[in-house]
């Protein structure tokens, strides 16, 4: 009660609502930034062969070219240097030095010098800034071991955390600064370089070009301190936005490398339907084309690379693709393009391209893969890609696994360039849909070409355990849509190959990962049809949870587009000053409002998994265990096989689908709003047509608010704003209020709901209010007056359970930290014989006499609600 009384003293509904709406307006009114690689002249300071461009108070571009040949075109990394506002800065100089000072940075440059000495030193150029109260010195080339890292090209060969050392530097650091080295000379880890980009009429989009001065230094210093979110937001201002993928990619993907026939694919679709598994995407791996394998009826034709349907497996491709679409699925074909277009594998395509290109690139019956060049690219897309797209291919899975840089153009990265060309081709030539590819990270700038295919990870728990960290960390370079081979790709240990627990835990993690796609290699011993597993119902539940979460996920994906913050985010974005935010790297935020700590280890007893979880400041509703947890604290919690440790941030309003939704592309006629009683907040529900390419401006948002005034709380759904012609016009709502007391009074727009329109679940401390179908332009306000004395609110978990032996009273003493509903105490001696077993209820402290026990050591097992503590006492 004190908490609510205290809030009453400071609560002003009008101020609060106005503030709330202001925040919402700011939240949805993101400007579409024009992309111009030429900076405003007033942002530029020239000093001999050195040029500085002040981009933000925290970001300065530093160029040095011995011949003064500076780059004003876009590059692979950078797209825009014309910021909306030139930040205020001062420029002064004396005989020796030039000084530039922004609100955050002080730059000092020795005039006439190359800013970067060999080896690195502060002799010629320094930037100083304040970070955590300390003065920080930077100079070009200064090493930074505290960089928080980004991502790497692939998880091929991932085993445990062996890929950790391959993570490239990211855009944020605990040092307070990071540097984008966009110099052509600075190779990316795959050896590729950042070329310039120029408009190309032949293909219709930007094409690579040599840099003006390949020896020039081109650095972007980013001194954002601990404001990681601003650093990433500003990065997307200069490097381009993270696009919003089409809605269907957020559904479940069935994928498997196997020599499936058309009948096999139809059987899979039938099985999925029969087993009531929601799904949106079906992948056709490389055996769709001639692969050279006799077992696939492809002997002597094709190989790793192929472009033509293997009609011995898929006799009528168009009919198959139509069937897939008739099942409301989207589909993608796998490509390994490196071996070019072969006259035996694809005579029709080969002849068409050979004729069109006048034999150029043709060597001994193969047109060499030559994506470096516009003429090849134009002919390739026209003759092959367009042909398959006309058959029904929705998007392409690029799977480059060969040489990493071009054999013909030094430093042109094959991965990056495939990403750029395939993505921009789709953007240019398929305007009826939203561009998307499925490929790997090719270095900075790849965030513009979503989504990511992480590759061939091994099937074991330690490899799963690495993926939450890996995926969240990728947001440090904007590459936020990694799609993993959920379940793992290949195995080295037969014990793990079809371990139902491992596959389930991997899928459960996938629910809270960017892309929910199961996959494995072509090995008949590996099963990826979830309906074949003994724990299939739990796997399906996980997939259904993903579908329930879709409105929230899609809203967060839009926020990623608007803010540059990835959907899976390290904890330190929000809590940069808390050491635990760096330590508990297996936890992350899934969007703004859900904390996730996936289970990535097998249960010690085969049933219950223990997980130590750090909860940051604030209150967190444990959806699985139905308890409110107040951070900061560390808790060891127990989870059964069906449990996924995820936690709603108190104050959030989280929109979800009803459980009946089985396609994310379906326009749900009901939205479920989840919130936590006692904490104010606001959010939005984002909607668009799902696959429209003009989503930047064509979308709608619904503001969702939650206001607390003592024991009266208001839940507000504002009229939907924006473009909504192709959206559902009327919908019903279900409001789930967790951690709630029993209600004393409920109104919906001032009218009490019917009895069957609300319910209170005492076990879950959840009040549910159903709002009948209403036009989406109608404002709705649910007001609930709670009966605080009914005692329904769950206790706040703040501390660990402690069990000790008190020698003076000869008793076992347990401090439960809070009132617990159900408690079981079991005391066994060292031989395993149970000496005490007692049940308690509604208790916060236990004193249990041990007078009847002899002096010895005992094991105490204490189950308090869903927490378990095991301790050893010596009597």
């Amino acid at each position: 009660m004190d908490k609510y009384n205290n809030m009453k003293k400071t609560f002003n509904p009008r101020t609060c609502l106005t503030g709330l709406l202001c925040v919402m307006c700011v939240a949805v009114a993101y400007p579409v930034i024009a992309q111009n690689p030429i900076a405003k002249s007033e942002a530029i300071i020239n000093s001999g062969n050195t040029r500085f461009t002040v981009l933000t108070p925290e970001m300065i571009r530093i160029e040095y070219s011995e011949n003064g040949n500076f780059e004003d075109r876009a590059t692979f990394t950078i797209q825009n240097r014309e910021m909306d506002v030139v930040p205020s800065f001062s420029k002064t100089e004396d005989n020796e030095f030039l000084y530039i000072e922004t609100d955050r940075l002080k730059l000092k440059y020795r005039k006439g010098s190359n800013p970067k000495t060999i080896p690195a030193s502060p002799d010629n150029l320094t930037i100083t800034m304040s970070h955590k109260g300390q003065s920080v010195l930077w100079y070009p080339g200064k090493p930074d071991p505290l960089n928080l890292k980004g991502t790497c090209r692939t998880l091929d060969g991932s085993n445990g955390d062996n890929k950790r050392s391959e993570l490239e530097d990211g855009l944020i650091s605990r040092s307070g600064w990071a540097v984008i080295d966009d110099s052509w000379s600075a190779a990316r880890p795959d050896g590729s370089r950042s070329f310039a980009l120029e408009p190309n009429k032949e293909v219709g989009f930007d094409w690579w070009s040599e840099r003006k001065d390949p020896y020039a230094m081109d650095l972007y210093f980013m001194g954002y301190g601990s404001d990681y979110k601003k650093a990433l937001a500003d990065f997307t201002k200069v490097a381009g936005k993270i696009p919003l993928p089409p809605n269907y990619v957020f559904g479940y993907w069935y994928s498997r490398y196997s020599s499936y026939s058309d009948d096999d694919y139809r059987q899979i679709m039938a099985d999925i339907k029969e087993n009531d598994i929601p799904i949106d995407v079906l992948i056709l791996d490389m055996d769709w084309h001639w692969n050279g394998s006799a077992g696939c009826g492809s002997a002597g034709r094709g190989g790793w690379t192929g472009w033509s349907w293997n009609t011995n497996l898929i006799s009528d491709p168009v009919k198959l693709l139509n069937d897939i679409h008739d099942n409301n699925l989207r589909l993608s074909l796998n490509l390994h393009p490196a071996d070019g277009i072969n006259s035996v594998e694809s005579p029709q395509y080969y002849n068409a391209m050979k004729s069109e290109l006048n034999g150029k690139y043709d060597k001994n019956g193969t047109i060499a893969w030559s994506l470096d060049y516009p003429d090849f690219t134009k002919s390739f897309f026209k003759n092959i890609i367009r042909d398959h797209e006309a058959e029904g291919v929705d998007f392409w899975w690029l799977d480059w696994q060969q040489y990493l840089t071009s054999p013909e153009n030094q430093g042109l990265g094959e991965t990056f360039w495939c990403n750029h060309v395939f993505y921009n081709d789709m953007k240019t030539n398929r305007p009826d849909r939203r561009p998307v590819i499925f490929h790997r990270w090719g270095g900075l700038g790849s965030h513009r070409y979503q989504i990511g295919f992480s590759g061939d990870a091994l099937i074991n728990f330690p490899t799963l355990a690495f993926q939450p960290y890996f995926t969240a960390t990728a947001s440090n370079v904007g590459y936020t849509y990694w799609g993993h081979d959920l379940g793992g790709h290949a195995f080295t240990d037969e014990k793990t190959v079809n371990d139902p627990e491992l596959v389930l835990r991997w899928l459960q993690y996938g629910v809270f990962s960017p892309i929910l796609r199961s996959h494995a290699t072509n090995d008949s011993r590996i099963e990826r049809r979830m309906w074949k597993f003994s724990n299939f119902p739990l796997m399906r539940d996980a997939v259904k949870l993903r579908y329930a979460l879709f409105p929230y996920i899609y809203t967060m994906a839009r926020k990623t587009y608007d803010t540059g913050l990835g959907i899976c985010r390290p904890l330190y974005y929000e809590f940069p000053d808390d050491e635990e935010a760096y330590k508990y790297e297996g936890e992350y935020f899934f969007g703004d409002n859900i904390l996730v700590a996936p289970i990535t280890e097998p249960a010690a007893d085969g049933k219950t998994s223990q997980k130590e979880i750090w909860f940051p400041r604030g209150k967190w509703w444990s959806v699985t265990t139905n308890q409110i947890i107040e951070g900061p604290c560390v808790m060891t919690m127990n989870f059964k096989a069906e449990d996924i440790p995820y936690f709603f941030k108190a104050g959030a309003v989280i929109p979800m689908n009803p459980s009946s939704v089985d396609r994310v592309t379906a326009k749900a006629a009901q939205i479920v709003l989840n919130t936590v009683a006692g904490s104010e907040g606001n959010d939005i529900l984002y909607e668009d047509e799902g696959d429209n390419s003009d989503y930047a401006a064509k979308f709608a948002t619904t503001e969702l608010g939650h206001i607390v005034n003592g024991n009266i709380e208001s839940y507000i759904i504002e009229p939907r704003q924006g473009e909504q012609s192709n959206l559902v016009q009327n919908r019903s709502w279900q409001l789930n209020i967790f951690n709630a007391c029993p209600p004393e009074e409920i109104t919906i727009n001032g009218v009490a709901p019917a009895e069957n329109e609300w319910a209170y679940d005492a076990d879950k401390h959840c009040l549910t209010v159903r709002i009948p179908e209403t036009n989406c332009n109608t404002k709705l306000e649910v007001v609930v007056k709670y009966n605080m004395e009914a005692g329904g609110i769950a206790g706040v978990t703040t501390a660990d359970i402690k069990v000790e032996y008190d020698r003076y009273s000869d008793s076992l003493v347990a401090d439960l930290g809070q009132t617990r509903q159900k408690v079981n105490l079991s005391v066994t001696n060292i031989a395993g014989v149970e000496c005490i077993n007692k049940e308690y209820s509604d208790i916060s402290h236990i004193t249990e006499s041990l007078a009847g026990l002899s002096s010895a050591m005992y094991i105490c097992r204490l189950n308090a609600d869903k927490e378990q503590v095991i301790g050893k006492i010596c009597k």
Partner: protein, 431 residues
């Protein structure tokens, strides 16, 4: 023959192209090669340059005046050339030069531009592949390695903290540091004769240098800040007396360690953690505990070093490993452990039986207690551990003793006991 040679080159090309990095510059290694060097054009034995930062390499050695040298990015083949942008460049001390990279199996002579130095002598060559530039300098004078090291600076609250020597091999200490700066000195108090040691890269974070050889530089300016500390916490500092290098890492508790060796049931198998895994001590997370049986040569085991073991920090040969400072160190009792490399030394057991190992990862001390004989071998039947564990303070209050089966003992005789003094529970060896 020509066709055979061409086929071979083609196959080699195909191999490297398939290997994935055939055309790419690599920041992992760099070699100096040429007639100006001691190994001339023998690529296979070309001198490896030391990596001093990401993509930055350094080499100090003798160059013959008037003779050519260049750099190769691999020692496996004449493929990845790092050369001057101009021909006939005579490199001079104090100057920097631009470089080109060519991935080419048969580099045209007009691009294959080498460097020379005018006079024979010792030079330090620094190559920064990230900016494709090279500098030439006089070799720095080797610092006289002090006998004693102390850490001081704002990160130690300006306290002077000695970093003690271990066996003449290294100085090391775990130190709590706050945000600020630190440097090394060689005297317990600051005097006019105090020498100051700082890193090559001014104010670089103290943890910089993992996997690199980080050397110390004597500061000309006594006010130089030295290393920076951004993240407060405990740091482990190592100064290698042999290589004269500095290493520092944040102290982080391990979740597991692994015992492997000829005396272990699973021998050198680290991947099966069924009985080789240390777990965290519930009372002290710095301490990792393992209990189990060791034998001098298990039946059926024909592995090398049947009485020896070492401790891994991960299930991999490529991560840090703990070794004793002295070869074949008897394990029973307390022994200091080394994590900083050196020879692949091991601990040894003198008798079969059950042991309890407590490894303090903060102090890097292994405490091994012999518990009892091996059931199968029955070596000596002793039930007595021979290493003192903890002293029980008389002031601690009433003390209770328990044997390893958990039974309370009113009058403990010699042996290992679990002792509760009213405040803490500890292991104790009674003689």
């Amino acid at each position: 023959m020509k066709k055979t040679a061409l086929l071979f080159i083609f196959a080699l090309t195909a191999f490297f192209m398939r290997a994935g990095m055939s055309n790419s510059i690599e920041y992992g290694q760099l070699y100096i090669v040429g007639e100006a060097t001691a190994t001339s054009w023998d690529l296979g034995s070309a001198a490896s340059m030391s990596k001093i930062a990401n993509g930055v390499f350094e080499w100090t050695g003798r160059l013959t005046g008037g003779k050519d040298f260049k750099f190769m990015n691999t020692r496996e083949a004449w493929h990845k050339h790092i050369v001057s942008v101009k021909s006939d460049v005579v490199a001079e001390i104090g100057k920097t030069y631009s470089l080109n990279f060519f991935a080419n199996w048969a580099l045209d002579g007009k691009y294959d531009c080498k460097f020379k130095v005018a006079e024979t002598g010792n030079y330090t060559i620094t190559v920064d592949l990230t900016s494709m530039r090279m500098s030439v300098s006089k070799p720095a004078e080797t610092i006289k390695w002090p006998e004693k090291f102390y850490l001081v600076g704002s990160a130690t609250d300006n306290k002077i903290i000695e970093i003690p020597d271990f066996y003449g091999i290294e100085h090391k200490k775990t130190i709590n540091l706050q945000p600020g700066f630190v440097k090394l000195i060689d005297t317990p108090t600051i005097t006019d004769k105090t020498r100051y040691f700082i890193p090559r890269f001014p104010e670089v974070d103290i943890t910089f240098g993992k996997g690199l050889n980080v050397y110390l530089y004597e500061a000309a300016d006594v006010n130089a800040n030295g290393w920076s500390v951004t993240v407060p916490g405990e740091y482990m500092i190592y100064l290698d007396n042999g290589r004269h290098t500095f290493t520092c890492k944040r102290f982080i508790q391990y979740n597991a360690l692994y015992i492997v060796g000829g005396c272990c049931e699973l021998a050198w198998n680290y991947w099966d953690e069924s009985n080789n895994r240390f777990i965290q001590d519930a009372g002290n997370p710095d301490v990792m505990v393992w209990e189990g049986e060791l034998r001098i040569g298990w039946a059926g085991n024909t592995v090398a070093e049947p009485s020896k073991f070492k401790i891994l920090t991960a299930q991999s040969w490529f991560e840090d490993t703990y070794h004793p400072y002295k070869a074949d160190m008897p394990v029973e009792g307390n022994s200091d452990a080394r994590i900083t490399g050196g020879d692949d030394l091991k601990w040894t057991i003198k008798r079969d039986g059950y042991y309890r190992m407590e490894f303090n990862t903060k102090t890097e001390v292994l405490k091994a207690t012999y518990i009892r004989s091996s059931d199968a071998q029955g070596t000596d039947g002793s039930q007595t551990a021979e290493t003192p564990d903890v002293e029980i303070s008389e002031e601690a209050g009433p003390t209770s003793y328990y044997n390893l089966q958990g039974i309370k003992i009113s009058k403990p005789q010699s042996g290992l006991y679990i002792v509760n003094d009213g405040n803490k529970t500890k292991n104790c060896l009674m003689r």
